[in-house]
Amino acid sequence: MIKVSNVSHFYGEEQVLYDISFEIKDGEFIFLSGDSGSGKSTLLSILSTLLKPSGGELLLDNSPVEDIKNIDLFRQENIGFVFQFHYLINYLSVYENIALAALQSKKGNIEKLLQDLGISSLSSRYPNEISGGQRQRVALARALINEPKIIFADEPTGSLDSANSKIVYELLAKAVKNGTTVVVASHDMHVQDYATKTIRMVDGKI
């Protein structure tokens, strides 16, 4: 469970989030919607422990995030990320990109996961040798490999056509069915078709 209490955030002098509070229960598919600049990416970064908020508190399974001893390991074990621009590491192959994120105990699952996502033939290819849709599926595989409790996705279909977007959402929905919590920040209103809850952001507020 994720609980956000009175979270605010500033970039320099500019305040981008105002006193935000809400809860996300396990197994929910949250759609974080809003216009550009509404603060949804910043909020997603805070929720996913990639950014420390300027104020307020973030509780993960009832523990303040500051109390987590090894936040890097915590992220690796519990959180998966899908970014708009996939952010694969260009000098590692598809397989190696996923292996980089994988816990030692999960490395044996990479081949199967690639098969499940229909990209096993790309295993030895490099990110610049595959299409945008394929890259996003690799990014999704990287997010899923450790069977995380939560997946955060920031505009995961922003650079994809509608067919590839549908594939990505269906894969995320499948993860939810398997008990994973998914939080997607997007402009794309199609996410609503899969989401169990929508949080709308306007000018840094919900």
Partner: protein
Amino acid sequence: MIALKALKKNPFKSILIFSSITIAVMAIFLISSVSQGVIGMYSNMIKTDGDIIITQKGISDTFFSNVDASIMDKINLMADVKSSYAMIVGASPVGHIPIAGIYGTSSNHLEHYKLTKGAYPESGEVMLGKNISKQISSRTVKIGNKRYKISGLYESDNGFEEGGVVMNLEDAGALFSRSSSFILVSVTSPNATDALVKKIASLSDDIEVKTTKSFIQEYNQFKIIEKSSLVISSLAFLMGLMGIASVMSMIVNSRKEEFGIMRALGKTRLFIMKNLFFETLIMSFSAYSFALILSLGILATLPHIEMLQGYVNGSLSVTTALYVLASTIFMALLGSLIPAWIASKTDPILLINQGCS
């Protein structure tokens, strides 16, 4: 290994770092080696054939020294003296060559120069060093205002000597208006050296007598060359090292996005630092090795470049090579690990966004 993959997958960046480190290390090597080589050649010239050196008192440079060569008659009679010879060291235009070293020497020292063609010089004759001979094809050569017959050619291990001209002491004396620049004395036993120094010094108030070892240590010109070369090579060294550090730092800063992604994936700071450490180590060590090989090649070629007449020579000591290796790796690590450490403390999403901007 991720470090190797990162280097391999970004060949342009890798070549850029490799070249920058190679050039910086080569600059360090060549500047310090050439100055060490100049000192080494001149000191070897003096050290080779003598244990004691006699120069004019109060003269800081052997070029200006004038010692009465007839003093050798008395020295040769002293116990424990094996041999002695006088030398005049000067510089003058030789034929069309604007400046070259002229070595006037006693007849008993001519054999020091290994004759490769012709005969040792008599009065009015000179023999040419291997390097200078490549630029003179005539049978005679004008030195100063006088023309000399070329009697032969010689070789020497010393670049200064190979780029110069040897004539007999009397002709050199006439050319440079002196009896001799210095006299070198060889002793039969090293134990007798100190006593002989005192004994020879008592022969004249106008001379200064020292062991060649202490002369080389105290010789003003060497001190000046040594100090100035130390300043120049230190500056080159510092600039080179700063260059290495800044190149590494630029490269690391350009990879913030990658570090941000790794942090987002749960990779620890230690993991990132460890990979960068190996990457830097591989890069700096291989660039250093390449620079060392190139520098040794250049240093070996320098004495054979005709235009330089063998005057520019270099010697690279193991101590210098090790010191440069340690400094190169240290600065490369400093340049890469400090920005990486600072970056690793930044929130991952900020690193990713910085990388995109």
